[in-house]
Amino acid sequence: MTPLLEVRDLRVTFPGTGNEVSPVDGVTFSIDAGETLALVGESGSGKTLTSLALVRLVPLPGRIAAGSSIRFGGTDLLALGPGALRQVRGRRIGMVFQDPMTSLNPVLTVGDQISETIRAHFPVSRAEARGRSEALLLEVGLGDTAGRYDTYPHQLSGGMRQRVMLAIALAAEPELLVADEPTSALDVTIQAQILALLDQLKSSRRMSVLLISHNLGVVAGRSDRVAVMYAGRIVEEAPTDRLFAAPAHPYTQGLLASLPRLRGPRRPLKAIPGMVPRPEAWPPGCRFHPRCAQVMPQCTSEPPIVAPGEGRWSRCWLGAEGA
């Protein structure tokens, strides 16, 4: 079965002083229909740029480098003209961003914003669009109050605005939902509400989801597979339970060891020393090696992909032949 989304060797470059930099540097992953892939990383990992690249919304002066390949439902997204791209962006791939405060248009009612999206993708009348918007508002949990359609974003709380964002993203009935840190700006109890809503929508609509987050707790219970990004590359990918139970890459191990936990025995945190490198100054070979507790001499050259089966792989010299 061909995957719904196939990304190969995605590179996004920006001009720097002198050489160009590639904050996204050879990212490869795929998502099957109905599957949820979590893309995990800290700031500087390139995860947000990756999601923007999927729908070709990379901000200038960045650009998607030649040699990258993004195939959605068999179509090469990078070869599409603007009209065809619009058929995909918003319609087959929906996006939800992090900050609901700035993602909504302050001068339109929330209902109108949903209707706008519907009418942009389907040839329906205003009345029909309104009807569908009301249904969507109900679906995202905002239908309890009559007249919700006519409220403005500033009258709503952060959690409610995020629900509106979801409604807009779902309005065109996409096959893939890309959610970039959908709950980072929200309170913990509201975050739980939104994540539960996301779960429910996922199964009722049978969508694939690309969930991007820096919060390993958020992805733990809600994804089928996890890809860990560091310095522009995916360094490990595995089914979720395998990743948490037995992380292979030292970065993943370091992340998990440095997380404070609410449950289980209380242990001192083991911090990863050093800082995330900037794209202008990426270390040679394995980009994590200066901070790695298990560094070896060969780590200054490009590490191989180690794929021991079980649907997982990591980019590391550990466990590689000839190590």
């Binding site: 800290e42 975050q191 820096h214 733990a220 440095s258 404070p260 609410l262 449950r263 990863i272």
Partner: protein
């Protein structure tokens, strides 16, 4: 028994209604909060938006004037102090802010920022200041060369360390930490938390640690107080509150906290409703609109529950009992 380092009694901070046409209503951000912090210990204050935790922090330090209540620090009445003695007191209680990007003056070098407190209070002759600054920078895990750089040249974690060094420069015995790691990357959070723990040990500091992340709180705090709409709803030793939460809100917070472990079932208790609006607190128990307690009744709508001791914790709930509902294992 010696007096606690910090003792807060019935603190209140109300913002009056403003505007003729806009009619911004009055907000009772902090509404009768009492707690104490002993020397060398960490009390965590946990709350979400609308809880009033930031107002509380500012009011204790008199960065804003309280509307009511008493704050005693090292035996002195903070809220009633005159400007001169207040200024001297400032050396003893300091604050570290959440957002590293807004917490440092963009036009001052790191060295100047760290030296600021020393200069203001004339703690050292000018010639000795650079050496002290170097020492402080090293104490927080930075290099002395960083004294010459500007904040925008540093990463978030480094800026946060500078903020800590700046607070330490005047030799405080008490630090208010307002969400000190919330804006930091995961791998940097652990570094800064470990630093704070080390400093507490080596300098005997007491912390008022404001946070919304319970896992972080568990790591650093001896005791925890949970804030909802300007009032404390539950407080007690950290392990006790986290393993045996007795207030429905605490239970919801714990259940909502995402755990980086796929074998832990995802929150079954999702707290319904919206974060509260501090300008229109519900009548009676402020939590009642969102409360799922099976024994919730008319009393909850009419009468605001007082804080009562319940085992090692104190809880403000009409129906709390010794048998706690699910906490963390």
């Amino acid at each position: 028994m010696p007096e606690p380092l910090l003792e807060v009694t019935n603190l209140a901070k109300h913002y009056p209604a403003r505007g003729v046409f806009r009619r911004q209503p009055a907000v009772r951000a902090v509404d009768g909060v009492s707690f104490h912090v002993e020397r060398g210990e960490t009390l965590a204050l946990v709350g979400e938006s609308g809880s009033g935790k930031s107002s509380l922090a500012r009011t204790i330090l008199r960065l804003e004037e309280a509307t009511g209540g008493v704050v005693r620090f090292e035996g002195q009445d903070v809220l009633g102090l005159d400007p001169r003695p207040l200024r001297a007191l400032r050396r003893r209680m300091q604050i570290v802010f959440q957002d590293p990007s807004g917490a440092l003056n963009p036009r001052m070098t790191v060295g100047d920022a760290v030296a600021e407190g020393i200069e203001i209070h004339r703690l050292l002759p000018t010639a000795e200041i650079p050496a002290r600054v170097s020492g402080l920078l090293q104490e927080v895990g930075l290099t002395p060369e960083m004294a010459a750089v500007y904040p925008h040249e540093l990463s978030g974690g480094q800026r946060q360390r500078v903020g800590i060094a700046r607070a330490l420069a005047v030799g405080p015995s008490f630090l208010v930490l307002d969400e000190p790691v919330s804006a930091l990357d995961v791998s940097v959070q652990a570094q800064v938390l470990n630093l704070l723990l080390d400093l507490q040990r080596t300098r005997g500091l007491a912390y008022l640690f404001i946070a919304h992340d319970l896992a972080v709180v568990r790591q650093v705090a001896h005791r925890v107080a949970v804030l909802y709409l300007g009032q404390i709803v539950e407080s007690g030793p950290t392990e006790e509150v986290l393993t045996h939460p007795r207030h429905p809100y605490t239970q919801a917070l714990i259940a909502s906290a995402p755990e980086p472990d796929p074998t832990v079932p995802v929150a079954r208790l999702v707290l319904p409703g919206e974060p509260p609006d501090p300008s229109r607190p519900p009548s009676g128990c402020r939590f009642n609109p969102r409360c799922g307690h099976p024994a919730r009744d008319a009393r909850c709508l009419e009468e605001s529950p007082p804080l009562r001791p319940l085992g090692p914790s104190t809880v403000a709930c009409h129906h709390a009992s010794m048998e706690a509902a699910e906490g963390v294992r």
